[in-house]
Each structure stands twice: as C-alpha cells, then as structure tokens.
C-alpha cells in the first residue's frame, strides 16, 4: 500500500508504461490524495501542450558539427598545432555562436508556442478567507492561467477577472479550473461548488464545462451550482444562457434559459427542462418527475401524471417549459403539449402542427422566436 506520494510514477502511468500492479497502486493512491490528482492534471496539461509544438527541422550544419566532434573524440592525440587545426569549434568560435543561437531560437519558439496555447493569465482577488490558486493560498491578489485550479473552503471566496469580458465569483466550497484563457475562448470547468458569472461580451466567448454539459454564455449573468457528481442548478438573472450536452446514445440536448428562469442539471441526462422561478410550485415539482429517472424520454405512469400537472398549471409565460417539452416527450404526449401551447398563445404564421409534431428544426426555431415575446 502506498504511503508516500506517487508524483514520480505519474508520467509513466499516463503513458501506460507501468505494470498493472504498479498502475493499480498509483490509482488507489490518487483516489485518496488531492495533491497527486492535482499534480497529474499539471503533468497531463504539460504533455498535451507538447503535442501542440510544431516539429522543427534543424539545419544540416548542426549534424556536420556533431559528426566532427565524434570523429575528434575517436582520433588519437596529436600535436598542439594539429589539434588547433582539427578542432573547428576552438578555431572558429562562430560555430559555437551559431549553435547557441539555434538552441535559443528553438527554446524561444517552444516557449512562444506554449504561451500562445496557454493563453493569458487572469487576475484573482481574494474576498474572504484564503482561496487556493494552483495549490498556493493567496492573501490579496493572484493570477491564474490555463490548466490551473482555484479552490475555496467553507470560509473563503474569490473573484476571477475573466480577461476583458467580465468576472466570476467563486463561492465557498468550490473547485474550479481555467481550461482556456484566450481572447477568442474563455473556458472554465466547474468540478463542484457554485460560481456567479457576470459577462459582457458577444455570445459564445465564455463557457463553463460541468459533468452535466456546458453553459454557453449568450450575454448574461447567472449562477451555476454543481455537486461533486455533476448534479446542479443553473439560474439566470440577466440575459440568457444556452446549456448544451453531448449525449451518448441519445440525441444532443440543449436548454435555453432566459433571465428569471432556472434549469436543473444531471450528469447522466444533461440539462433538464427550464422553468421560470415564479412558476407554480406544483408545476416545478411535476417537472422534477421527468427525465432524471428516465433520461428524459419514455415516461412511466408516474411521469405521465406529472405531465398532466405541467399542462394544467402552465401559464402563458410557461410556454418556455412547454416548448422544451415538445422535443422530450413521445409522439402522443407531444400532441398534447402542442395543443396546450396553442391554447395559451396564438400559433404564429409559418408554424404548422404537422411540422411541429415532427420536430422540424426551422418550425421549432420560428415558434421559439415568437414565444420568446411571452417569456
């Protein structure tokens, strides 16, 4: 049983070079050691960055100099005069200068490539307690870059300035990683806890990955809360957010969550069905009966009763919920959902019942654009 850290074995483990017994020991230790897990992530990040380095062909001259040096090493000792003539580097210091310049150029190119891929570093301001950035507690201000973690305990909070587009408040008991810090992509990964994002930027520049999917900022302020297993809640206070999930075995899911609405998240089924926070409690409770047990499709009898409640309790504004339900219920229920929406607000021109029940994308988009005026 390992009682010491396994940092030295991590790189070999990532490359699959350890024996099965050693690999199992490393994995069991990692499961109990946060430091080694963090170190693994750093190593993995570094190895990933190396994969991005462009191959550079050295000039022929460097091989010539290497061969000359090897030949000189094998040749027996000669006179001082002869030695001076046959050691080109000592007689011609410009070769040394060239070799040194070449090495520096390669190192500079590697550093520039790494820096370009890693992006810039963002400011971190401590609000309470002692938040930890990259395994180091910060007292006032710090900086965080791509691949690095920020973690808060029950008594600490911090604000991360997200480039030039906004900020994220990191609440207590939160673990958050900066995935990408580039002008064209600002991406975080929320492992657990709660963050409050305030973003002022064109859409699709700010992303937060969770185990339940990705929150895509469309110009907004929101709170995202996630448990260790990825369950959580997205609540939007300004603007709107698209929460997207690439399902395995199911079609991809996307939930549009406008200001004043929330959406539950679950790691195995992605985003739930959005609802307005002022919706009737009975409607919200009925929504909870959907999807999380049946992956959002094929409702059982208990869920069938819940659909009745949602349809009965829905107000005009709750067409937000009903519109999302259209693509998450089976055919016979879909017609009921369509009819309920049509009873609450006029169906716009260009939206036919037949096409809507077939989930025609253009039809659904046109209907959503019109329904949004009631949300």
């Amino acid at each position: 049983m390992f009682t010491r850290h396994v940092w030295r074995q991590l790189a070999a483990h990532i490359d699959g070079e350890l024996s099965p017994q050693k690999a199992g020991q490393v994995e069991r230790h990692e499961a109990q050691c946060a430091e080694c897990r963090a170190e693994r992530e750093q190593i993995g990040f570094g190895m990933e960055m190396l994969d991005h380095l462009p191959p550079v062909e050295p000039p022929d001259a460097i091989w010539t100099s290497i061969e000359s040096a090897l030949q000189e090493h094998r040749r027996p000792k000669r006179s001082a005069a002869w030695r001076l003539e046959s050691r080109p580097f000592e007689s011609n210091p410009w070769r040394w200068a060239f070799a040194a310049t070449f090495v520096l150029a390669v190192a500079g190119a590697a550093y520039w490539t790494l820096a370009r891929h890693a992006g810039t570093r963002w400011d971190v301001v401590r609000i309470d307690g002692a938040p930890v950035v990259n395994q180091k507690a910060i007292r006032g201000e710090g900086r965080i870059g791509a691949g690095e973690w920020i973690e808060t305990d029950s008594g600490s909070r911090a604000t991360v300035k997200v480039g030039e587009i906004g900020s994220v408040e990191v609440e207590p008991n939160t673990r958050l990683r900066v995935v990408t810090a580039r002008p064209g992509e600002h991406r975080l990964a929320l492992a657990r806890g709660e963050i409050r994002a305030k973003i002022s930027a064109p859409p699709r520049l700010f992303f937060v990955d969770t185990a339940s999917g990705t929150a895509v900022d469309l110009g907004c302020e929101y709170t995202l809360d996630a448990d260790k297993d990825g369950s959580g809640l997205l609540r939007v206070t300004k603007g709107w957010v698209s929460f997207q999930w690439k399902g395995t075995g199911w079609k991809d899911l996307e939930s549009l969550v406008p200001a004043g609405a929330s959406c539950r998240l679950h790691p195995s089924v992605g985003p739930g069905i959005p609802y307005f926070d002022d919706a009737p409690e009975s409607l919200k409770q009925a929504l909870d009966a959907f999807s999380f047990e049946r992956a959002g499709f094929g409702f059982d009898k208990a869920a069938y009763g819940a659909l009745d409640v949602v349809l009965a309790e829905a107000r005009v504004r709750d067409t937000l919920t009903l519109w999302h339900l259209l693509s998450r219920v089976q055919n016979e229920d879909r017609a009921r959902v369509y009819d309920r929406i049509a009873s609450l607000t006029p169906v716009p021109q260009g939206v036919s019942r037949e096409q809507a029940l077939k989930l025609d994308p253009e039809t659904l988009r046109r209907w959503k654009d019109e329904l949004a005026w009631t949300w």
Partner: protein
C-alpha cells in the same frame, strides 16, 4: 340594404388592415446580447415600413409625491427591424412607468408599462391606439404606488 353593405365594407376594412400597435417582451425576445441589460424590449406591429416609423419613450415617475419625467433613448435592434430596447435611465427611487408612443403611415400607438421591483410588469401594461393621456399615466402611477402592480 345600403346600410348593411356599408357595415360589411367597414368591417372588411378593419379585418384586412392590421392595427399599428406595440408588443413588449423581456430582453431574450430581441435575441441580441447587447440588449441583455435592457429594462424591456418592444416591437411594432402593423407597420408596413418599420424603418420609417417614429418611436419615442419617456419615463414618468412619482418621487416623494412629486411628478417627474425623463426622456428615454430608444435603441433599435439592428438585426430585427421594428424591434427596440429601452434601458433604465430613471432613478431607482420612486415609482415609474414607461410611456411609449409611435407613429407609422398616419397610424398611432401608445403604451404604459409599469416598472416593478423585478422589472416590467407585463400583466398591468396597457396599450392604446394613440399616445397615452396624462390621466392614464397618472392612474398607472397611482396603482403602482399603492402596490397593485409591483
């Protein structure tokens, strides 16, 4: 018979012609991220050339018993002709409504939108085929101050 024909013609004229009016919504209806902080957005309906319509808005308020009026800038949503946004330019103190007025090809429209603690109050908004009168604005402010529309 003549009266019946006239009545039918008038009815047909009304039925075929769409009334010029406003529809209000939350910023998500604009689908433009630049409008996300707007107090609300609105669109004109029944206007054949929205780009030529004349739209204006004022914030009408009651602050410590005194009546106040603030001219507002109406921001057009570039990607959606006929859609506009109103941003808060009135003080947080007091009770406020937004009065919209518009004109298109000789037709007029108006609306009074109460602003509550959580934003615009859709259910209490009133729409008119002309600009709202002072008495209609005062009535909306009075209802807001009495907590009816918050």
């Amino acid at each position: 018979m003549l009266r019946l024909c006239i009545a039918v013609c008038v009815f047909a004229a009304f039925a075929l012609g769409q009334e010029f009016k406003f529809t209000i919504g939350s910023p998500v209806a604009s689908q433009d991220f630049q409008m996300k902080s707007a107090a609300f957005v609105f669109r004109t309906e029944g206007c054949a050339e929205p780009a030529k319509s004349q739209i204006g808005a004022t914030a009408e308020g009651l602050v410590k018993g005194a009546r106040r009026s603030v001219a507002l800038k109406v921001t057009a949503v570039a990607s959606k002709p006929g859609v506009y946004a109103v941003f808060q330019a009135w003080p947080a103190e007091g009770d406020w409504v937004v009065s919209l007025k518009g004109a298109c090809a000789g037709a007029n429209a108006g609306a009074v939108i109460p602003i509550g603690a959580k934003g615009f109050v859709r259910e209490s908004s009133k729409f008119f085929p002309r600009p709202a009168t002072d008495s209609e604005i005062d009535a909306a402010l009075k209802a807001l101050a009495q907590g009816e529309n918050k």
